[in-house]
Protein backbone atom coordinates (compact mmCIF):
# COMPACT_ATOMS: atom_id res chain seq x y z
CA UNK A 1 0.00 0.00 0.00
CA UNK A 2 1.29 3.49 -0.79
CA UNK A 3 1.49 5.69 2.26
CA UNK A 4 0.61 9.21 1.19
CA UNK A 5 -0.02 12.23 3.36
CA UNK A 6 -3.14 14.29 2.57
CA UNK A 7 -0.87 16.89 0.94
CA UNK A 8 0.76 14.24 -1.21
CA UNK A 9 -2.61 12.84 -2.30
CA UNK A 10 -3.61 16.35 -3.20
CA UNK A 11 -0.43 16.84 -5.26
CA UNK A 12 -1.26 13.71 -7.19
CA UNK A 13 -4.93 14.34 -7.87
CA UNK A 14 -4.57 18.03 -8.66
CA UNK A 15 -1.70 17.45 -11.08
CA UNK A 16 -3.43 14.45 -12.62
CA UNK A 17 -6.54 16.52 -13.40
CA UNK A 18 -4.38 18.73 -15.63
CA UNK A 19 -2.46 15.99 -17.42
CA UNK A 20 -3.14 15.45 -21.14
CA UNK A 21 -3.16 11.70 -20.64
CA UNK A 22 -2.97 10.57 -24.25
CA UNK A 23 -0.20 12.98 -25.20
CA UNK A 24 1.84 12.49 -22.05
CA UNK A 25 1.45 8.73 -22.26
CA UNK A 26 2.78 8.67 -25.80
CA UNK A 27 5.60 10.99 -24.78
CA UNK A 28 6.59 8.83 -21.82
CA UNK A 29 6.55 5.53 -23.68
CA UNK A 30 8.41 7.09 -26.58
CA UNK A 31 11.10 8.46 -24.29
CA UNK A 32 11.53 5.08 -22.67
CA UNK A 33 12.12 3.49 -26.07
CA UNK A 34 14.63 6.23 -26.97
CA UNK A 35 16.50 6.53 -23.68
CA UNK A 36 16.57 2.76 -23.00
CA UNK A 37 16.52 1.27 -26.50
CA UNK A 38 16.67 -2.29 -25.23
CA UNK A 39 13.04 -1.84 -24.17
CA UNK A 40 12.09 -1.98 -27.84
CA UNK A 41 12.36 -5.75 -27.43
CA UNK A 42 8.71 -5.78 -26.37
CA UNK A 43 7.44 -3.89 -29.38
CA UNK A 44 8.61 -5.83 -32.42
CA UNK A 45 5.27 -5.25 -34.16
CA UNK A 46 5.36 -1.46 -33.82
CA UNK A 47 7.27 -0.75 -36.99
CA UNK A 48 10.08 1.79 -37.26
CA UNK A 49 11.68 2.45 -33.86
CA UNK A 50 15.16 3.04 -35.25
CA UNK A 51 15.64 6.70 -34.31
CA UNK A 52 14.32 9.21 -31.80
CA UNK A 53 12.32 10.91 -34.55
CA UNK A 54 10.82 7.62 -35.72
CA UNK A 55 9.87 6.56 -32.20
CA UNK A 56 8.32 9.84 -31.11
CA UNK A 57 6.20 10.07 -34.27
CA UNK A 58 5.23 6.40 -34.33
CA UNK A 59 1.42 6.13 -34.12
CA UNK A 60 1.49 2.74 -32.39
CA UNK A 61 3.83 4.10 -29.72
CA UNK A 62 1.55 7.06 -29.15
CA UNK A 63 -1.52 4.82 -28.95
CA UNK A 64 0.09 2.35 -26.60
CA UNK A 65 1.52 5.09 -24.42
CA UNK A 66 -1.95 6.58 -24.14
CA UNK A 67 -3.30 3.17 -23.07
CA UNK A 68 -0.61 2.75 -20.44
CA UNK A 69 -1.05 6.18 -18.90
CA UNK A 70 -4.84 5.86 -18.95
CA UNK A 71 -4.37 2.79 -16.78
CA UNK A 72 -2.37 4.99 -14.41
CA UNK A 73 -5.56 6.93 -13.93
CA UNK A 74 -6.93 3.85 -12.18
CA UNK A 75 -4.04 4.04 -9.76
CA UNK A 76 -4.87 7.66 -8.98
CA UNK A 77 -8.49 6.65 -8.29
CA UNK A 78 -7.49 3.70 -6.10
CA UNK A 79 -4.46 4.91 -4.19
CA UNK A 80 -5.43 2.68 -1.27
CA UNK A 81 -5.57 -0.52 -3.28
CA UNK A 82 -2.95 -0.61 -5.99
CA UNK A 83 -2.34 -4.35 -5.67
CA UNK A 84 -6.01 -5.13 -6.21
CA UNK A 85 -6.31 -2.62 -9.03
CA UNK A 86 -3.37 -4.10 -10.93
CA UNK A 87 -3.81 -7.81 -10.10
CA UNK A 88 -5.04 -8.80 -13.56
CA UNK A 89 -2.53 -6.58 -15.37
CA UNK A 90 0.23 -8.06 -13.24
CA UNK A 91 -0.68 -11.58 -14.34
CA UNK A 92 -0.83 -10.39 -17.94
CA UNK A 93 2.62 -8.79 -17.82
CA UNK A 94 4.10 -11.93 -16.29
CA UNK A 95 2.33 -14.75 -18.10
CA UNK A 96 1.63 -13.30 -21.52
CA UNK A 97 3.89 -10.30 -22.03
CA UNK A 98 6.95 -11.58 -20.11
CA UNK A 99 8.08 -8.12 -19.07
CA UNK A 100 10.91 -7.80 -16.55
CA UNK A 101 9.50 -5.71 -13.67
CA UNK A 102 12.62 -3.55 -13.85
CA UNK A 103 10.92 -1.92 -16.83
CA UNK A 104 8.03 -0.71 -14.67
CA UNK A 105 10.49 1.29 -12.55
CA UNK A 106 12.12 2.77 -15.65
CA UNK A 107 8.81 3.85 -17.15
CA UNK A 108 7.66 5.22 -13.80
CA UNK A 109 10.71 7.46 -13.58
CA UNK A 110 10.23 8.62 -17.13
CA UNK A 111 6.62 9.57 -16.31
CA UNK A 112 8.02 11.64 -13.42
CA UNK A 113 10.40 13.41 -15.80
CA UNK A 114 7.57 14.11 -18.27
CA UNK A 115 5.49 15.60 -15.48
CA UNK A 116 8.43 17.76 -14.42
CA UNK A 117 8.77 18.98 -17.97
CA UNK A 118 5.09 19.84 -18.30
CA UNK A 119 4.53 21.40 -14.92
CA UNK A 120 7.90 23.07 -14.32
CA UNK A 121 8.13 24.83 -10.98
CA UNK A 122 4.68 23.51 -10.01
CA UNK A 123 6.35 20.09 -9.85
CA UNK A 124 7.97 20.94 -6.54
CA UNK A 125 10.26 18.55 -4.66
CA UNK A 126 7.27 17.72 -2.42
CA UNK A 127 5.16 16.92 -5.45
CA UNK A 128 7.93 14.73 -6.79
CA UNK A 129 7.97 12.80 -3.50
CA UNK A 130 4.27 11.99 -3.93
CA UNK A 131 4.69 10.90 -7.53
CA UNK A 132 7.82 8.82 -6.83
CA UNK A 133 5.80 6.97 -4.18
CA UNK A 134 2.97 6.44 -6.64
CA UNK A 135 5.11 5.16 -9.52
CA UNK A 136 6.98 2.89 -7.11
CA UNK A 137 3.64 1.63 -5.79
CA UNK A 138 2.35 0.94 -9.30
CA UNK A 139 5.60 -0.81 -10.28
CA UNK A 140 5.37 -2.93 -7.14
CA UNK A 141 1.70 -3.76 -7.77
CA UNK A 142 2.41 -4.75 -11.37
CA UNK A 143 5.16 -7.09 -10.20
CA UNK A 144 3.12 -8.51 -7.35
CA UNK A 145 1.58 -11.46 -9.17
CA UNK A 146 4.81 -12.57 -10.82
CA UNK A 147 5.80 -16.14 -10.25
Amino acid sequence: MVHLTPEEKNCITSLWSKVAVDQTGGEALGRMLVVYPWTTRFFGSFGDLSSAGAVMSNAKVQAHGAKVLTSFGEAVKHLDNLKGTYAKLSELHCDKLHVDPENFKMLGNIIVICLAEHFGKEFTPECQVAWQKLVAGVAHALAHKYH
Partner: protein, 142 residues
Amino acid sequence: MSLTKTDKAIILTIWNKIATQADSVGTEALERLFASFPQTKTYFPHFDLHPGSAQLKAHGAKVVSAIGDAVKHIDNVGSALSKLSELHAYILRVDPVNFKFLNHCMLVTLAVHFPNDLTAETHAAWDKFLALVTAVLTEKYR
Protein backbone atom coordinates in the same frame (compact mmCIF):
# COMPACT_ATOMS: atom_id res chain seq x y z
CA MET B 1 27.35 2.27 -23.75
CA SER B 2 29.60 5.01 -25.09
CA LEU B 3 28.85 8.56 -26.21
CA THR B 4 28.44 9.26 -29.91
CA LYS B 5 29.59 12.52 -31.52
CA THR B 6 25.97 13.67 -31.54
CA ASP B 7 25.59 12.84 -27.85
CA LYS B 8 28.66 14.90 -27.04
CA ALA B 9 27.39 17.90 -28.99
CA ILE B 10 24.01 17.71 -27.24
CA ILE B 11 25.65 17.39 -23.83
CA LEU B 12 27.80 20.45 -24.40
CA THR B 13 24.85 22.53 -25.62
CA ILE B 14 22.80 21.73 -22.54
CA TRP B 15 25.79 22.25 -20.27
CA ASN B 16 26.17 25.80 -21.55
CA LYS B 17 22.59 26.45 -20.43
CA ILE B 18 23.06 24.71 -17.07
CA ALA B 19 26.22 26.73 -16.46
CA THR B 20 24.14 29.92 -16.22
CA GLN B 21 22.30 28.51 -13.19
CA ALA B 22 24.77 25.84 -12.17
CA ASP B 23 24.62 26.26 -8.42
CA SER B 24 20.84 26.32 -8.14
CA VAL B 25 20.49 23.32 -10.47
CA GLY B 26 22.87 21.33 -8.28
CA THR B 27 21.18 22.38 -5.07
CA GLU B 28 17.72 21.58 -6.39
CA ALA B 29 18.83 18.14 -7.62
CA LEU B 30 20.14 17.34 -4.16
CA GLU B 31 17.00 18.70 -2.50
CA ARG B 32 14.88 16.44 -4.69
CA LEU B 33 17.19 13.49 -4.00
CA PHE B 34 16.92 13.81 -0.23
CA ALA B 35 13.15 14.32 -0.39
CA SER B 36 12.29 11.46 -2.76
CA PHE B 37 14.98 9.02 -1.67
CA PRO B 38 15.45 9.75 2.03
CA GLN B 39 17.84 6.84 2.46
CA THR B 40 20.43 8.97 0.65
CA LYS B 41 20.51 11.30 3.65
CA THR B 42 22.38 8.62 5.58
CA TYR B 43 25.52 9.76 3.79
CA PHE B 44 25.19 13.27 5.20
CA PRO B 45 24.65 12.97 8.95
CA HIS B 46 27.00 15.90 9.41
CA PHE B 47 24.99 18.23 7.16
CA ASP B 48 22.03 20.50 7.67
CA LEU B 49 19.89 19.22 4.80
CA HIS B 50 16.95 21.59 5.13
CA PRO B 51 16.09 23.29 1.84
CA GLY B 52 18.02 26.55 1.69
CA SER B 53 20.80 25.45 4.00
CA ALA B 54 24.22 26.85 3.23
CA GLN B 55 25.76 23.38 3.27
CA LEU B 56 23.21 22.09 0.77
CA LYS B 57 23.91 25.03 -1.54
CA ALA B 58 27.65 24.54 -1.28
CA HIS B 59 27.40 20.84 -1.95
CA GLY B 60 25.01 21.29 -4.87
CA ALA B 61 27.48 23.72 -6.42
CA LYS B 62 30.29 21.23 -5.90
CA VAL B 63 28.38 18.39 -7.56
CA VAL B 64 27.47 20.43 -10.64
CA SER B 65 30.99 21.80 -10.89
CA ALA B 66 32.29 18.24 -11.08
CA ILE B 67 29.75 17.46 -13.80
CA GLY B 68 31.06 20.53 -15.60
CA ASP B 69 34.60 19.16 -15.38
CA ALA B 70 33.37 15.93 -16.92
CA VAL B 71 31.72 17.85 -19.76
CA LYS B 72 34.87 19.87 -20.42
CA HIS B 73 36.90 16.66 -20.64
CA ILE B 74 34.21 14.57 -22.22
CA ASP B 75 36.73 12.50 -24.16
CA ASN B 76 38.50 11.49 -20.97
CA VAL B 77 36.11 11.66 -18.08
CA GLY B 78 38.09 8.95 -16.28
CA SER B 79 41.13 11.12 -16.06
CA ALA B 80 39.22 14.32 -15.25
CA LEU B 81 37.37 12.73 -12.33
CA SER B 82 40.18 10.45 -11.16
CA LYS B 83 40.56 12.09 -7.75
CA LEU B 84 36.79 12.11 -7.19
CA SER B 85 36.71 8.47 -8.18
CA GLU B 86 39.26 7.65 -5.49
CA LEU B 87 37.40 9.74 -2.96
CA HIS B 88 34.17 7.84 -3.59
CA ALA B 89 35.89 4.45 -3.60
CA TYR B 90 38.06 4.74 -0.53
CA ILE B 91 36.57 7.44 1.65
CA LEU B 92 32.91 8.09 0.86
CA ARG B 93 31.96 4.59 -0.30
CA VAL B 94 28.47 5.65 -1.38
CA ASP B 95 26.57 2.55 -2.46
CA PRO B 96 26.43 2.54 -6.27
CA VAL B 97 22.62 2.35 -6.37
CA ASN B 98 22.43 5.92 -5.11
CA PHE B 99 24.10 7.44 -8.14
CA LYS B 100 21.10 6.38 -10.21
CA PHE B 101 18.79 8.24 -7.82
CA LEU B 102 20.90 11.41 -8.09
CA ASN B 103 21.09 11.12 -11.87
CA HIS B 104 17.30 10.80 -12.02
CA CYS B 105 16.85 13.88 -9.83
CA MET B 106 19.31 15.79 -12.03
CA LEU B 107 17.17 14.92 -15.06
CA VAL B 108 13.99 15.97 -13.23
CA THR B 109 15.66 19.28 -12.35
CA LEU B 110 16.74 19.80 -15.96
CA ALA B 111 13.17 19.03 -17.09
CA VAL B 112 11.80 21.63 -14.69
CA HIS B 113 14.26 24.35 -15.72
CA PHE B 114 14.78 23.62 -19.41
CA PRO B 115 11.54 21.99 -20.57
CA ASN B 116 11.94 23.02 -24.19
CA ASP B 117 15.48 21.69 -24.35
CA LEU B 118 14.96 18.25 -22.90
CA THR B 119 13.83 16.47 -26.04
CA ALA B 120 13.88 12.67 -26.10
CA GLU B 121 17.29 12.76 -27.78
CA THR B 122 18.70 15.18 -25.25
CA HIS B 123 17.22 13.18 -22.40
CA ALA B 124 18.90 10.05 -23.78
CA ALA B 125 22.28 11.77 -24.21
CA TRP B 126 22.25 13.18 -20.68
CA ASP B 127 21.09 9.90 -19.19
CA LYS B 128 24.02 8.19 -20.91
CA PHE B 129 26.44 10.90 -19.82
CA LEU B 130 25.39 10.75 -16.18
CA ALA B 131 25.67 6.96 -16.34
CA LEU B 132 29.21 7.42 -17.65
CA VAL B 133 30.06 9.77 -14.79
CA THR B 134 28.62 7.18 -12.39
CA ALA B 135 30.74 4.44 -13.95
CA VAL B 136 33.86 6.55 -13.48
CA LEU B 137 33.02 7.40 -9.88
CA THR B 138 32.42 3.75 -8.98
CA GLU B 139 35.26 2.38 -11.09
CA LYS B 140 37.69 1.85 -8.22
CA TYR B 141 35.23 0.42 -5.74
CA ARG B 142 36.65 -3.07 -6.08
